[in-house]
């Protein structure tokens, strides 16, 4: 424990030194006081831990402490709402994910507009979501699965929760192909994984499947994201398999709309440098999370595009208000 204190002390010293030089070197005064990054989920989860590491590594680069604050609740929408209302001065940011960025807002009023109320800074992660079946399932690939669901038998699929991105994506597949797919929502991805392992549902659409697939307990048929999972380069995306749908999983930093563009670009540069570093990649590998860097602009496009898709889909399903 004394070692960790020592480490903290050196970090603080380093931060102080770099902070001083930054103060003189940069014409910009930002940041002149600690920056807060809100995490919309509880402490100790992967979003929280990855954001804390990102913050800790960015501190010496911006020369000010970065405080990570957990504001859980409402599937992430509570924190989004409070950050949307925060002063756009670059001192309040949020490290957030797909669900409060473009899934939940497409379904019901959440009290903020993900496109108008925020300015994206960068995307740095996003767990791949897979289409998984039990290893003894007869379906060897996604097309066989869909064919199976078209030939009279209902296949059930579990997801991490009602009206999540995975649910909407598969609803779209079922509509396009006429496959008889019955959704069964669970309380979190872990419960949905357990359900497919136990044979209580035929399919699960969940992240964090790597070890169970490598141990031949589950079979990965496709990924819901726009790109392939680097851990399983042979497994196609849904799009590549001929289904025009994707659920891109993003984890990124956004600031309240109206934040000075110079501050935004400075933060983008700093966080990108951290996220691209080998140390950060190694850290994320331990958490079984990928590092997926997108510029703020790309993240903004992803959010806007998917918000539209999900709104249309939700309207079709009659869930939108």
């Amino acid at each position: 424990m004394s070692f960790s204190q020592f480490k903290k002390l050196t970090l603080a010293l380093a931060a102080g030194v770099v902070g001083l030089t930054a103060l003189f070197a940069s014409a910009e005064e930002y940041p002149s006081r600690p920056v807060t990054i809100v995490v919309p989920y509880g402490a100790g989860g992967t979003t929280d831990i990855s954001a804390r590491k990102l913050a800790a590594m960015a501190e010496p680069l911006i020369g000010q402490p970065i405080v990570v604050e957990n504001r859980p609740g409402g599937s992430g929408t509570n924190a989004m709402r409070s950050v949307a209302a925060a002063k756009p001065d670059g001192y309040t940011l949020i490290a957030t994910t797909s669900s409060p960025l473009f899934v939940t807002p497409a379904l019901r009023p959440v009290g903020y507009d993900p496109v108008k109320d925020f300015v994206p800074i960068l995307n740095y992660s996003g767990p791949f979501h897979g289409v998984l079946v039990k290893a003894d399932s007869p379906y060897q690939n996604i097309n066989e699965l869909i064919e199976g669901a078209k030939s009279g038998s209902t296949l059930t699929y579990g997801t991490a929760g009602a009206m999540g991105g995975a649910h909407l994506a598969f609803t779209s597949v079922s509509r396009e192909t006429g496959a008889d797919l019955q959704h069964v929502p669970f309380d979190g991805g872990a419960a949905a994984t357990a359900a497919v392992l136990g044979g209580h549902v035929n399919i699960s659409l969940v992240p964090a499947y790597r070890d169970l697939v490598q141990d031949s307990q589950l079979r990965l048929l496709a990924v819901l994201d726009g790109t392939r999972d680097p851990d399983f380069p042979d497994v196609p995306t849904l799009k590549e398999s001929g289904y025009d749908v994707e659920f891109p999983s993003v984890v990124g930093v956004v600031a309240p709309a109206g934040t000075d563009p110079a501050i935004v670009s400075k933060l983008e540069q700093v966080f990108t440098q951290v996220a691209a570093s080998d140390e950060y990649k190694a850290f994320m590998a331990k958490l079984n999370q990928p590092v997926r860097i997108m510029t703020g602009e790309e993240l903004g496009e992803t959010i806007a595009r998917n918000l539209e898709t999900y709104r249309a889909l939700a309207k079709e399903m009659g869930q939108s208000k």
């Binding site: 424990m1 070692f3 960790s4 480490k7 509880g42 402490a43 100790g44 989860g45 992967t46 929280d48 831990i49 804390r52 957990n70 504001r71 859980p72 609740g73 409402g74 599937s75 929408t77 509570n78 709402r81 379904l107 019901r108 009023p109 959440v110 009290g111 209902t154 059930t156 929760g161 009602a162 009206m163 019955q182 959704h183 069964v184 929502p185 669970f186 309380d187 872990a190 419960a191 994984t193 357990a194 359900a195 392992l197 136990g198 044979g199 209580h200 549902v201 964090a208 070890d211 169970l212 490598q214 141990d215 307990q217 331990k286 958490l287 079984n288 869930q319």
Partner: protein, 503 residues
């Protein structure tokens, strides 16, 4: 492997971590509103730069310590520090009022340690088979298990069964508020975003048990002046080995219940604590039926053994499959990953030495846990002599802080105060609170599992009899109802006979 693991423990930092974890855990657990989840989440950054074995030992020590710590405030103040110690409060507090606070604490400590060791051994020896057993519990099996749990609480929890049933139903109804678990649409939230998560357990618990106690004291005040409040004397507190040995079956069965329910996802440690309490109560019928609720030693030992046994059980699917069942184990899963020990099918194969070292450290943590627990008791028992006018304002502040800290939300504070008033009214009118808490905890899971089961079966009820586990639970529920009814009739006949005999 076990020897290698043991050698890995011979490191001063492991000892420091174990002691520190246990101490922090006990203290945090004893404070109403603060629980193991928050303690572990706060300590994870501290463990970043530590070696894997001490880091995880520290966090798991906090987990075990906090579950036990909750019983201290439950026994001494009638204010459960964690939801799982609400069952301990029933007889623990009654013992404390009789001056046996020290004895109750010792029984709780020994029973907790027993539960920990039992479940830790189960984790070490049977993790793989038990994890596969957990997988065979799908929605249909969970539905019937939850019904069984509710039946046990209602039928054997003590008091009027009708009252308990009403309380359970109110709890289940309160669980309707929030997002629909299947359709995802808000229910009874009145467009209030903060209510979308429903009532949070901690604010409701703190309100029902802690705030209502404050209100009760507030309204009881006029009859006695502050100084004249009778202070219970402190009787000698030795608990002999013989006394603990007498309760061996109770502790064993409670530990089995705790471990088993811990393995299953999402139920937590409160329900097994109450189930064990109810079971101990119904088993003791022949010997000393009336002592329960008035300070029965077994009424303390049973829930404490059970809620601590949950810790080892909950770690089984978390570590063997990488599937955490609740918030605490999800945070622990993250901690393992950060240390490079990714839980899942490869954990035991790739990191056997580390994992067994951690388990052995957990077993050995019982020693500092007992030493520190006994030391703490010397101080803690005096809490009971703090005059209410000093004690209850402090409890109020802790309750407000605890409720706020769950989500940093004022709504939780209002929920806590509202639950306090409801709890006060219910206690004044003689309704039991535990079934209300259990109804709230299980209501949402019950609804979700029932609807999931019907979704997977295409709406057919056959799924509940097709699965042998589910059918088994249904039969058990039926037997319990019959047994309770027969017993009820028999005691009524007896009392009628004795009544006529007297005339």
């Amino acid at each position: 492997m076990l020897l290698d693991a043991f050698l890995a423990l011979l490191d001063i930092w492991v000892l420091v971590a174990a002691v520190f974890g246990i101490v922090v855990g006990i203290v945090i657990g004893a404070i109403p509103g603060l629980g193991p989840t928050m303690a572990i989440a706060l300590l994870i950054p501290v463990t970043f730069s530590m070696a894997p074995i001490p880091a995880i030992t520290l966090l798991l020590g906090v987990y075990q310590g906090a579950i036990f710590g909750g019983s201290i405030s439950a026994i001494l103040l009638n204010v459960p520090g964690t939801p799982s110690s609400a069952a301990t409060a029933i007889d623990g507090y009654a013992m404390a009022r009789k001056g046996q606070g020290g004895k109750a604490l010792r029984i709780a400590l020994y029973a907790s340690v027993f539960g920990n060791i039992f479940s830790c051994l189960a984790l070490m020896m049977l993790a793989q088979p038990l994890a596969s057993m957990a997988l065979s519990f799908g929605p249909a099996e969970m539905t019937t298990l939850l019904l069984f749990a509710l039946a046990v609480i209602i039928l054997f929890g003590g008091g009027a069964k009708l009252d308990a049933a009403i309380m359970v139903l109110i709890g289940i109804c309160a669980g309707i508020i929030g997002l629909d678990p299947i359709a995802g649409t808000p229910r009874f939230t009145f467009n209030n975003f903060a209510l979308e998560n429903g009532f949070q357990l901690i604010p409701v618990l703190v309100g029902l048990f802690a705030m209502s106690e404050v209100f009760l004291q507030l309204f009881n005040r006029p009859k006695a002046s502050a100084g004249a409040q009778e202070v219970p004397e402190l009787l000698p507190t030795k608990v002999g080995l013989a006394e603990m040995w007498r309760m061996r079956t109770t502790m064993f069965l409670s530990s089995v219940i705790g471990t088993f329910i811990g393995i299953l996802p999402g139920i937590g440690s409160t329900v097994p604590a109450f189930m064990s309490y109810s079971l101990a109560r119904s088993r003791s019928r022949s010997r000393d039926p009336s002592s329960f609720g008035k300070g029965a030693a077994e009424g303390v030992a049973a829930p404490e053994a059970a809620n601590n046994a949950v810790t080892g059980g909950a770690l089984i699917p978390t570590l063997a499959l990488g599937i955490p069942g609740d918030a605490v184990t999800a945070v622990i899963l993250g901690a393992f990953m950060l240390q490079g020990l990714a839980p899942g099918p490869f954990l035991f194969r790739d990191y056997g030495v580390e994992v067994y070292a951690i388990f052995e450290a957990l077993l050995l943590s019982s020693i500092p846990c007992i030493i520190f627990g006994l030391l703490l008791f010397r101080v803690a028992v005096h809490v009971i002599r703090i005059p209410p006018r000093h004690l209850f304002p402090a409890i109020t502040i802790l309750a407000l802080l605890g409720a706020f800290s769950v989500n940093n939300s004022m709504v939780d504070v209002w929920v806590m105060l509202g639950a306090g008033i409801v709890g006060f009214l219910l206690r004044r009118s003689g309704f039991p609170l535990p079934p209300l808490l259990i109804g709230l905890i299980l209501g949402k899971s019950l609804e979700q599992s029932l609807r999931q089961a019907l979704l997977t079966s295409g709406g057919s009820l056959e799924i509940f009899v097709a699965s042998p586990i589910a059918a088994g639970f249904l039969v058990t529920i039926a037997l319990c109802v019959i047994a309770a009814a027969v017993f009820h009739l028999r005691t009524r006949n007896k009392s009628e006979k004795s009544a006529t005999g007297n005339v």
